[in-house]
Symmetry: D2
């Protein structure tokens, strides 16, 4: 297959959708991004990659960072993680407090905000310099030492983070946050404000298609079994309350963020990252969703 | 790999779990099944199969029938189906009325009871003899003309079906049931009371691993794209509120029933059916869940 | 005070509100009532009464009948009633299934539909001819042998009663309906379709302001303590999810129905019935709500 | 009636219940109170009062303070108050986040914690020294300049106030908290930690039975209409999710606190305050609930 051509085709097919979504507007930094960006990068585990569009412009990875934080937490204390957070789809919006209240402060899964706050809390308990160590981990698996946070985004998130503060306080009332709430929120907002490119993300996610092994250095970061679990979680819980829709239309495990990025993997084969800032009502990038759907339809490459 | 040996190993490893679950007890016919059965059958798309234990004893397939009914409905009127029922995990128990009330009578997905009642309703509107035609469809894809319902089970289901009647009435109040409620319930209880063996189920599910084509006759029953969608739905919604757990531990699309059966597929490779009547608290067979987990762990065959 | 004048004043003050509400439209019989009716009748326990407007036109009492059914049930088996139904405000719409599901089929109070269905069930278990005996009871306390049901309304209710059938089936699944569901629904729809005038209702409700004693005949129908409990229930649960609003603005125990009627009492003093068919969004009569608010404001007669 | 004798009788009838409840234990200061206290004081609007038991021992008034804060807020900006908070019973526990999430951050009523936090926020926006001015208001209507807070309780509340912090952050995310969250919580915990005796409370609540006028000084604190509304709110929402039970058994508007106090009023007649620290499962004082039930049963004095 001529993957370059396929990606070009996809680009021309999704670009007419620009204008049909809405930028995230809960912080000014996301609302001010130019809405017309689109990039897509496909990377095979043998290292060959195909890039079309804006694949070298860094954007706010937002919730995609939850995958990296969870990977690091699992690497450190896997069994403990599953005592603090579940593995089931939530069936509710990503920032819902309802289930938390009915289920004694145990979040449904690590990809809803409440779950990611618990993962932050676990990282703080298990790392000396959680921010630095998480950032170093991401730089390493992305093979890019220049990855960093956007400080304005981090500050804005904190200023507008009342819903996340509500979640953290709620879980603390049930004893499921161990550290100081401000410290937990601070690490959470730090990871949400990391900026990466499609190229970085496709590189980093090779880990999940390559059974936990870094393609370049042959270093085993997590076990095969841990990788399978992460992929299974992305499949069932990676897209807020649109996980079924994504699984249904795209058929790959993946994760989205309100910065407009989506990354997905075909285990044993490739990773693919797409970015375009306009979101649908569920908070997922309109163009990236469509681009990935077209990709698996055109190539017939999916887990199903 | 020596699959026969692997299945034998699994059998000896799960049998100590007999006694740790509980039989379904909402109707006497299920409560009276001998709890010590266990069978598992693996069937590759080339026709080769491996069977261990009670793979030729028919049991009540219960919710597994929802996959067959949905397949037939999709074959008939695919686009219409997705106007009447969603594709997202429910995050709640299989017979919950809460989401139905909040979401205007549209069930979250076709594998919760409410969703299967809508599928029954669609089949009634689109088939002349819905019971016969559904049964013939199942016999055909299972390659077994002897498959039938258990009349006592069907009668018992009806006598105890108040929760399902509540769901159907609720949806009718929102206009999402078009036919007479008793007729809809009657077809629903009919399909739940179908009896099949592990051998039948592994045969029937080859359809979903073989891209919609019947292995024996080369007949295309549903399209590749429809098959992918059914597999995606089984992955995210096939196990009540334990879909995440199953995806996480087993990593295959599949469907369970309170009769103790579980069937799963690896697209492009095989189907696997397991049966043992004792259930865990979520309504899934204790031994079958464990058997499939052991299978994908031992063989490293999973979608992730 | 010149009560006649006060009622006349109220009439002229509320009539401009005609057109601001909406007729109940779930059955044709209610949707076809002329929307411009308004009547109000005040009746003191000494027998003196004041009537203004359409106080002799019978209308569908709908949920007001729940008070009569509960009174009869309490007269028969008071302690048993409180094992089957609660006494707390529901905080939800009158026909919600959510709380029922969370609370094992025990309705929050006897004035939401689920609660009234349980009361129907109790009457069926305790009366030989439940319909006749309930109707005779209402005729007796209203001192009017001509009171009857509207058969078209009863038939229409039954045809459109899917939500109530859902409630009844749900409770049956929890064991909180003992008789046949159709029989329970039949009695429920029977009582909802009773027609009374403002004059009848003010007569009947003297019972609740007169400590359980019939004013004319001096017959003690229920005890003082039972009367207090019924009044307390009307105060906290008599107006669907607008009980607080009514208590707040009017300050009297009372009960409304979607036929547009509202009856209220000041214990030890009087009863007051108002009717006007247009409803607000919560299902309570726009003009009757305002009329009663004006009455307690003008006369300073309220329990608070 | 010999009220002194009746109160003595009640005391001897409720004392055997000591040991059947449980002290509030979410902060050490409440858990360490001696459980065997009981006091009851009845005060008529003409100034005559009857006291039995521990009526001069100060205890933590906790949620009873919500009535005082609301009274002050209504005095300042009544119409604005009802734009920020509802008047309906919640049907849920006092500290539930669920309804808040479904209803855009508008609390159901001012007596659940979320509602009282909004009232705190309003007081901060409208008073120069909210803590002092609230305390002075309470001292004035209680006619006791010595009333003060317990600083240890206030500090403990703050240390354990994660659930309230969750509520405040949640409402802030919807824009329904205008001031700094810490300041709002600080005032809220301040008011909860005020200590008063049964004697103080019966004095202060005469305001609500005396149509808003201070009995001693003839000063009109709030209007008759405002008083009626406060009484109506206490009737429907004053007892967490036991408002119906209290209305049903006692039949008076009132308010309880987890310090074990309950105050109630008969408008136009009297106020009555009772205290005993052991709570039932709903958070209301076991002995005080029973004592007030016995009082209205023995004296036949209730609004119904």
């Amino acid at each position: 297959m001529n993957y370059k051509n396929i990606l070009e085709e996809i680009k021309s097919e999704v670009e007419p959708l620009i204008g049909s979504g809405k930028l995230a507007d809960y912080i000014p930094e996301l609302a001010n991004v130019s809405p017309s960006h689109f990039g897509i990068e496909l990377r095979f585990i043998d290292g060959v990659s195909y890039a079309v569009g804006d694949t070298n412009i860094p954007f706010s990875i937002q919730s995609i960072s939850k995958v990296f934080a969870l990977t690091l937490a699992i690497k450190l204390v896997e069994n403990y993680v599953w005592k603090r957070v579940g593995v089931e789809p939530s069936g509710n919006a990503f920032n819902s407090l309802v289930q938390l209240e009915h289920e004694n402060g145990i979040p449904r899964n690590p990809f809803i905000n409440a779950g990611a706050l618990v993962i932050s809390d676990i990282l703080i308990s298990n790392l000396k310099q959680p921010k630095n160590e998480l950032l170093e981990f991401i730089r390493k698996i992305s093979n890019n030492q220049k990855i960093n946070i956007n400080k304005k985004v981090a500050a804005s998130e904190k200023e507008n983070g009342y819903r996340n503060a509500a979640l953290a306080n709620m879980m603390k009332s049930f004893g499921n946050i161990k550290n100081d709430i401000d410290e937990v929120l601070d690490l959470y907002f730090f990871m949400c404000s990391i900026e990466m490119t499609c190229s970085d993300l496709s590189e980093a996610f090779l880990l999940y298609s390559n059974h936990g092994v870094l393609p370049n250095g042959n270093e085993k970061v997590i076990s095969l079994s841990q990788t399978k679990r992460l992929n299974a979680l992305m499949q069932t819980c990676g897209f807020y309350d649109e996980a079924g829709e994504f699984s249904f239309k795209v058929g790959l495990p993946g994760k989205s963020g309100v910065g407009g990025g989506i990354v997905a993997v075909l285990p044993g084969k490739f990773s693919i990252a797409s970015w375009s800032p306009e979101l649908n009502k569920k908070g997922n990038s309109v163009l990236s969703m469509k681009a990935l759907e077209l990709f698996t339809t055109k190539t017939k490459l999916s887990v199903f």
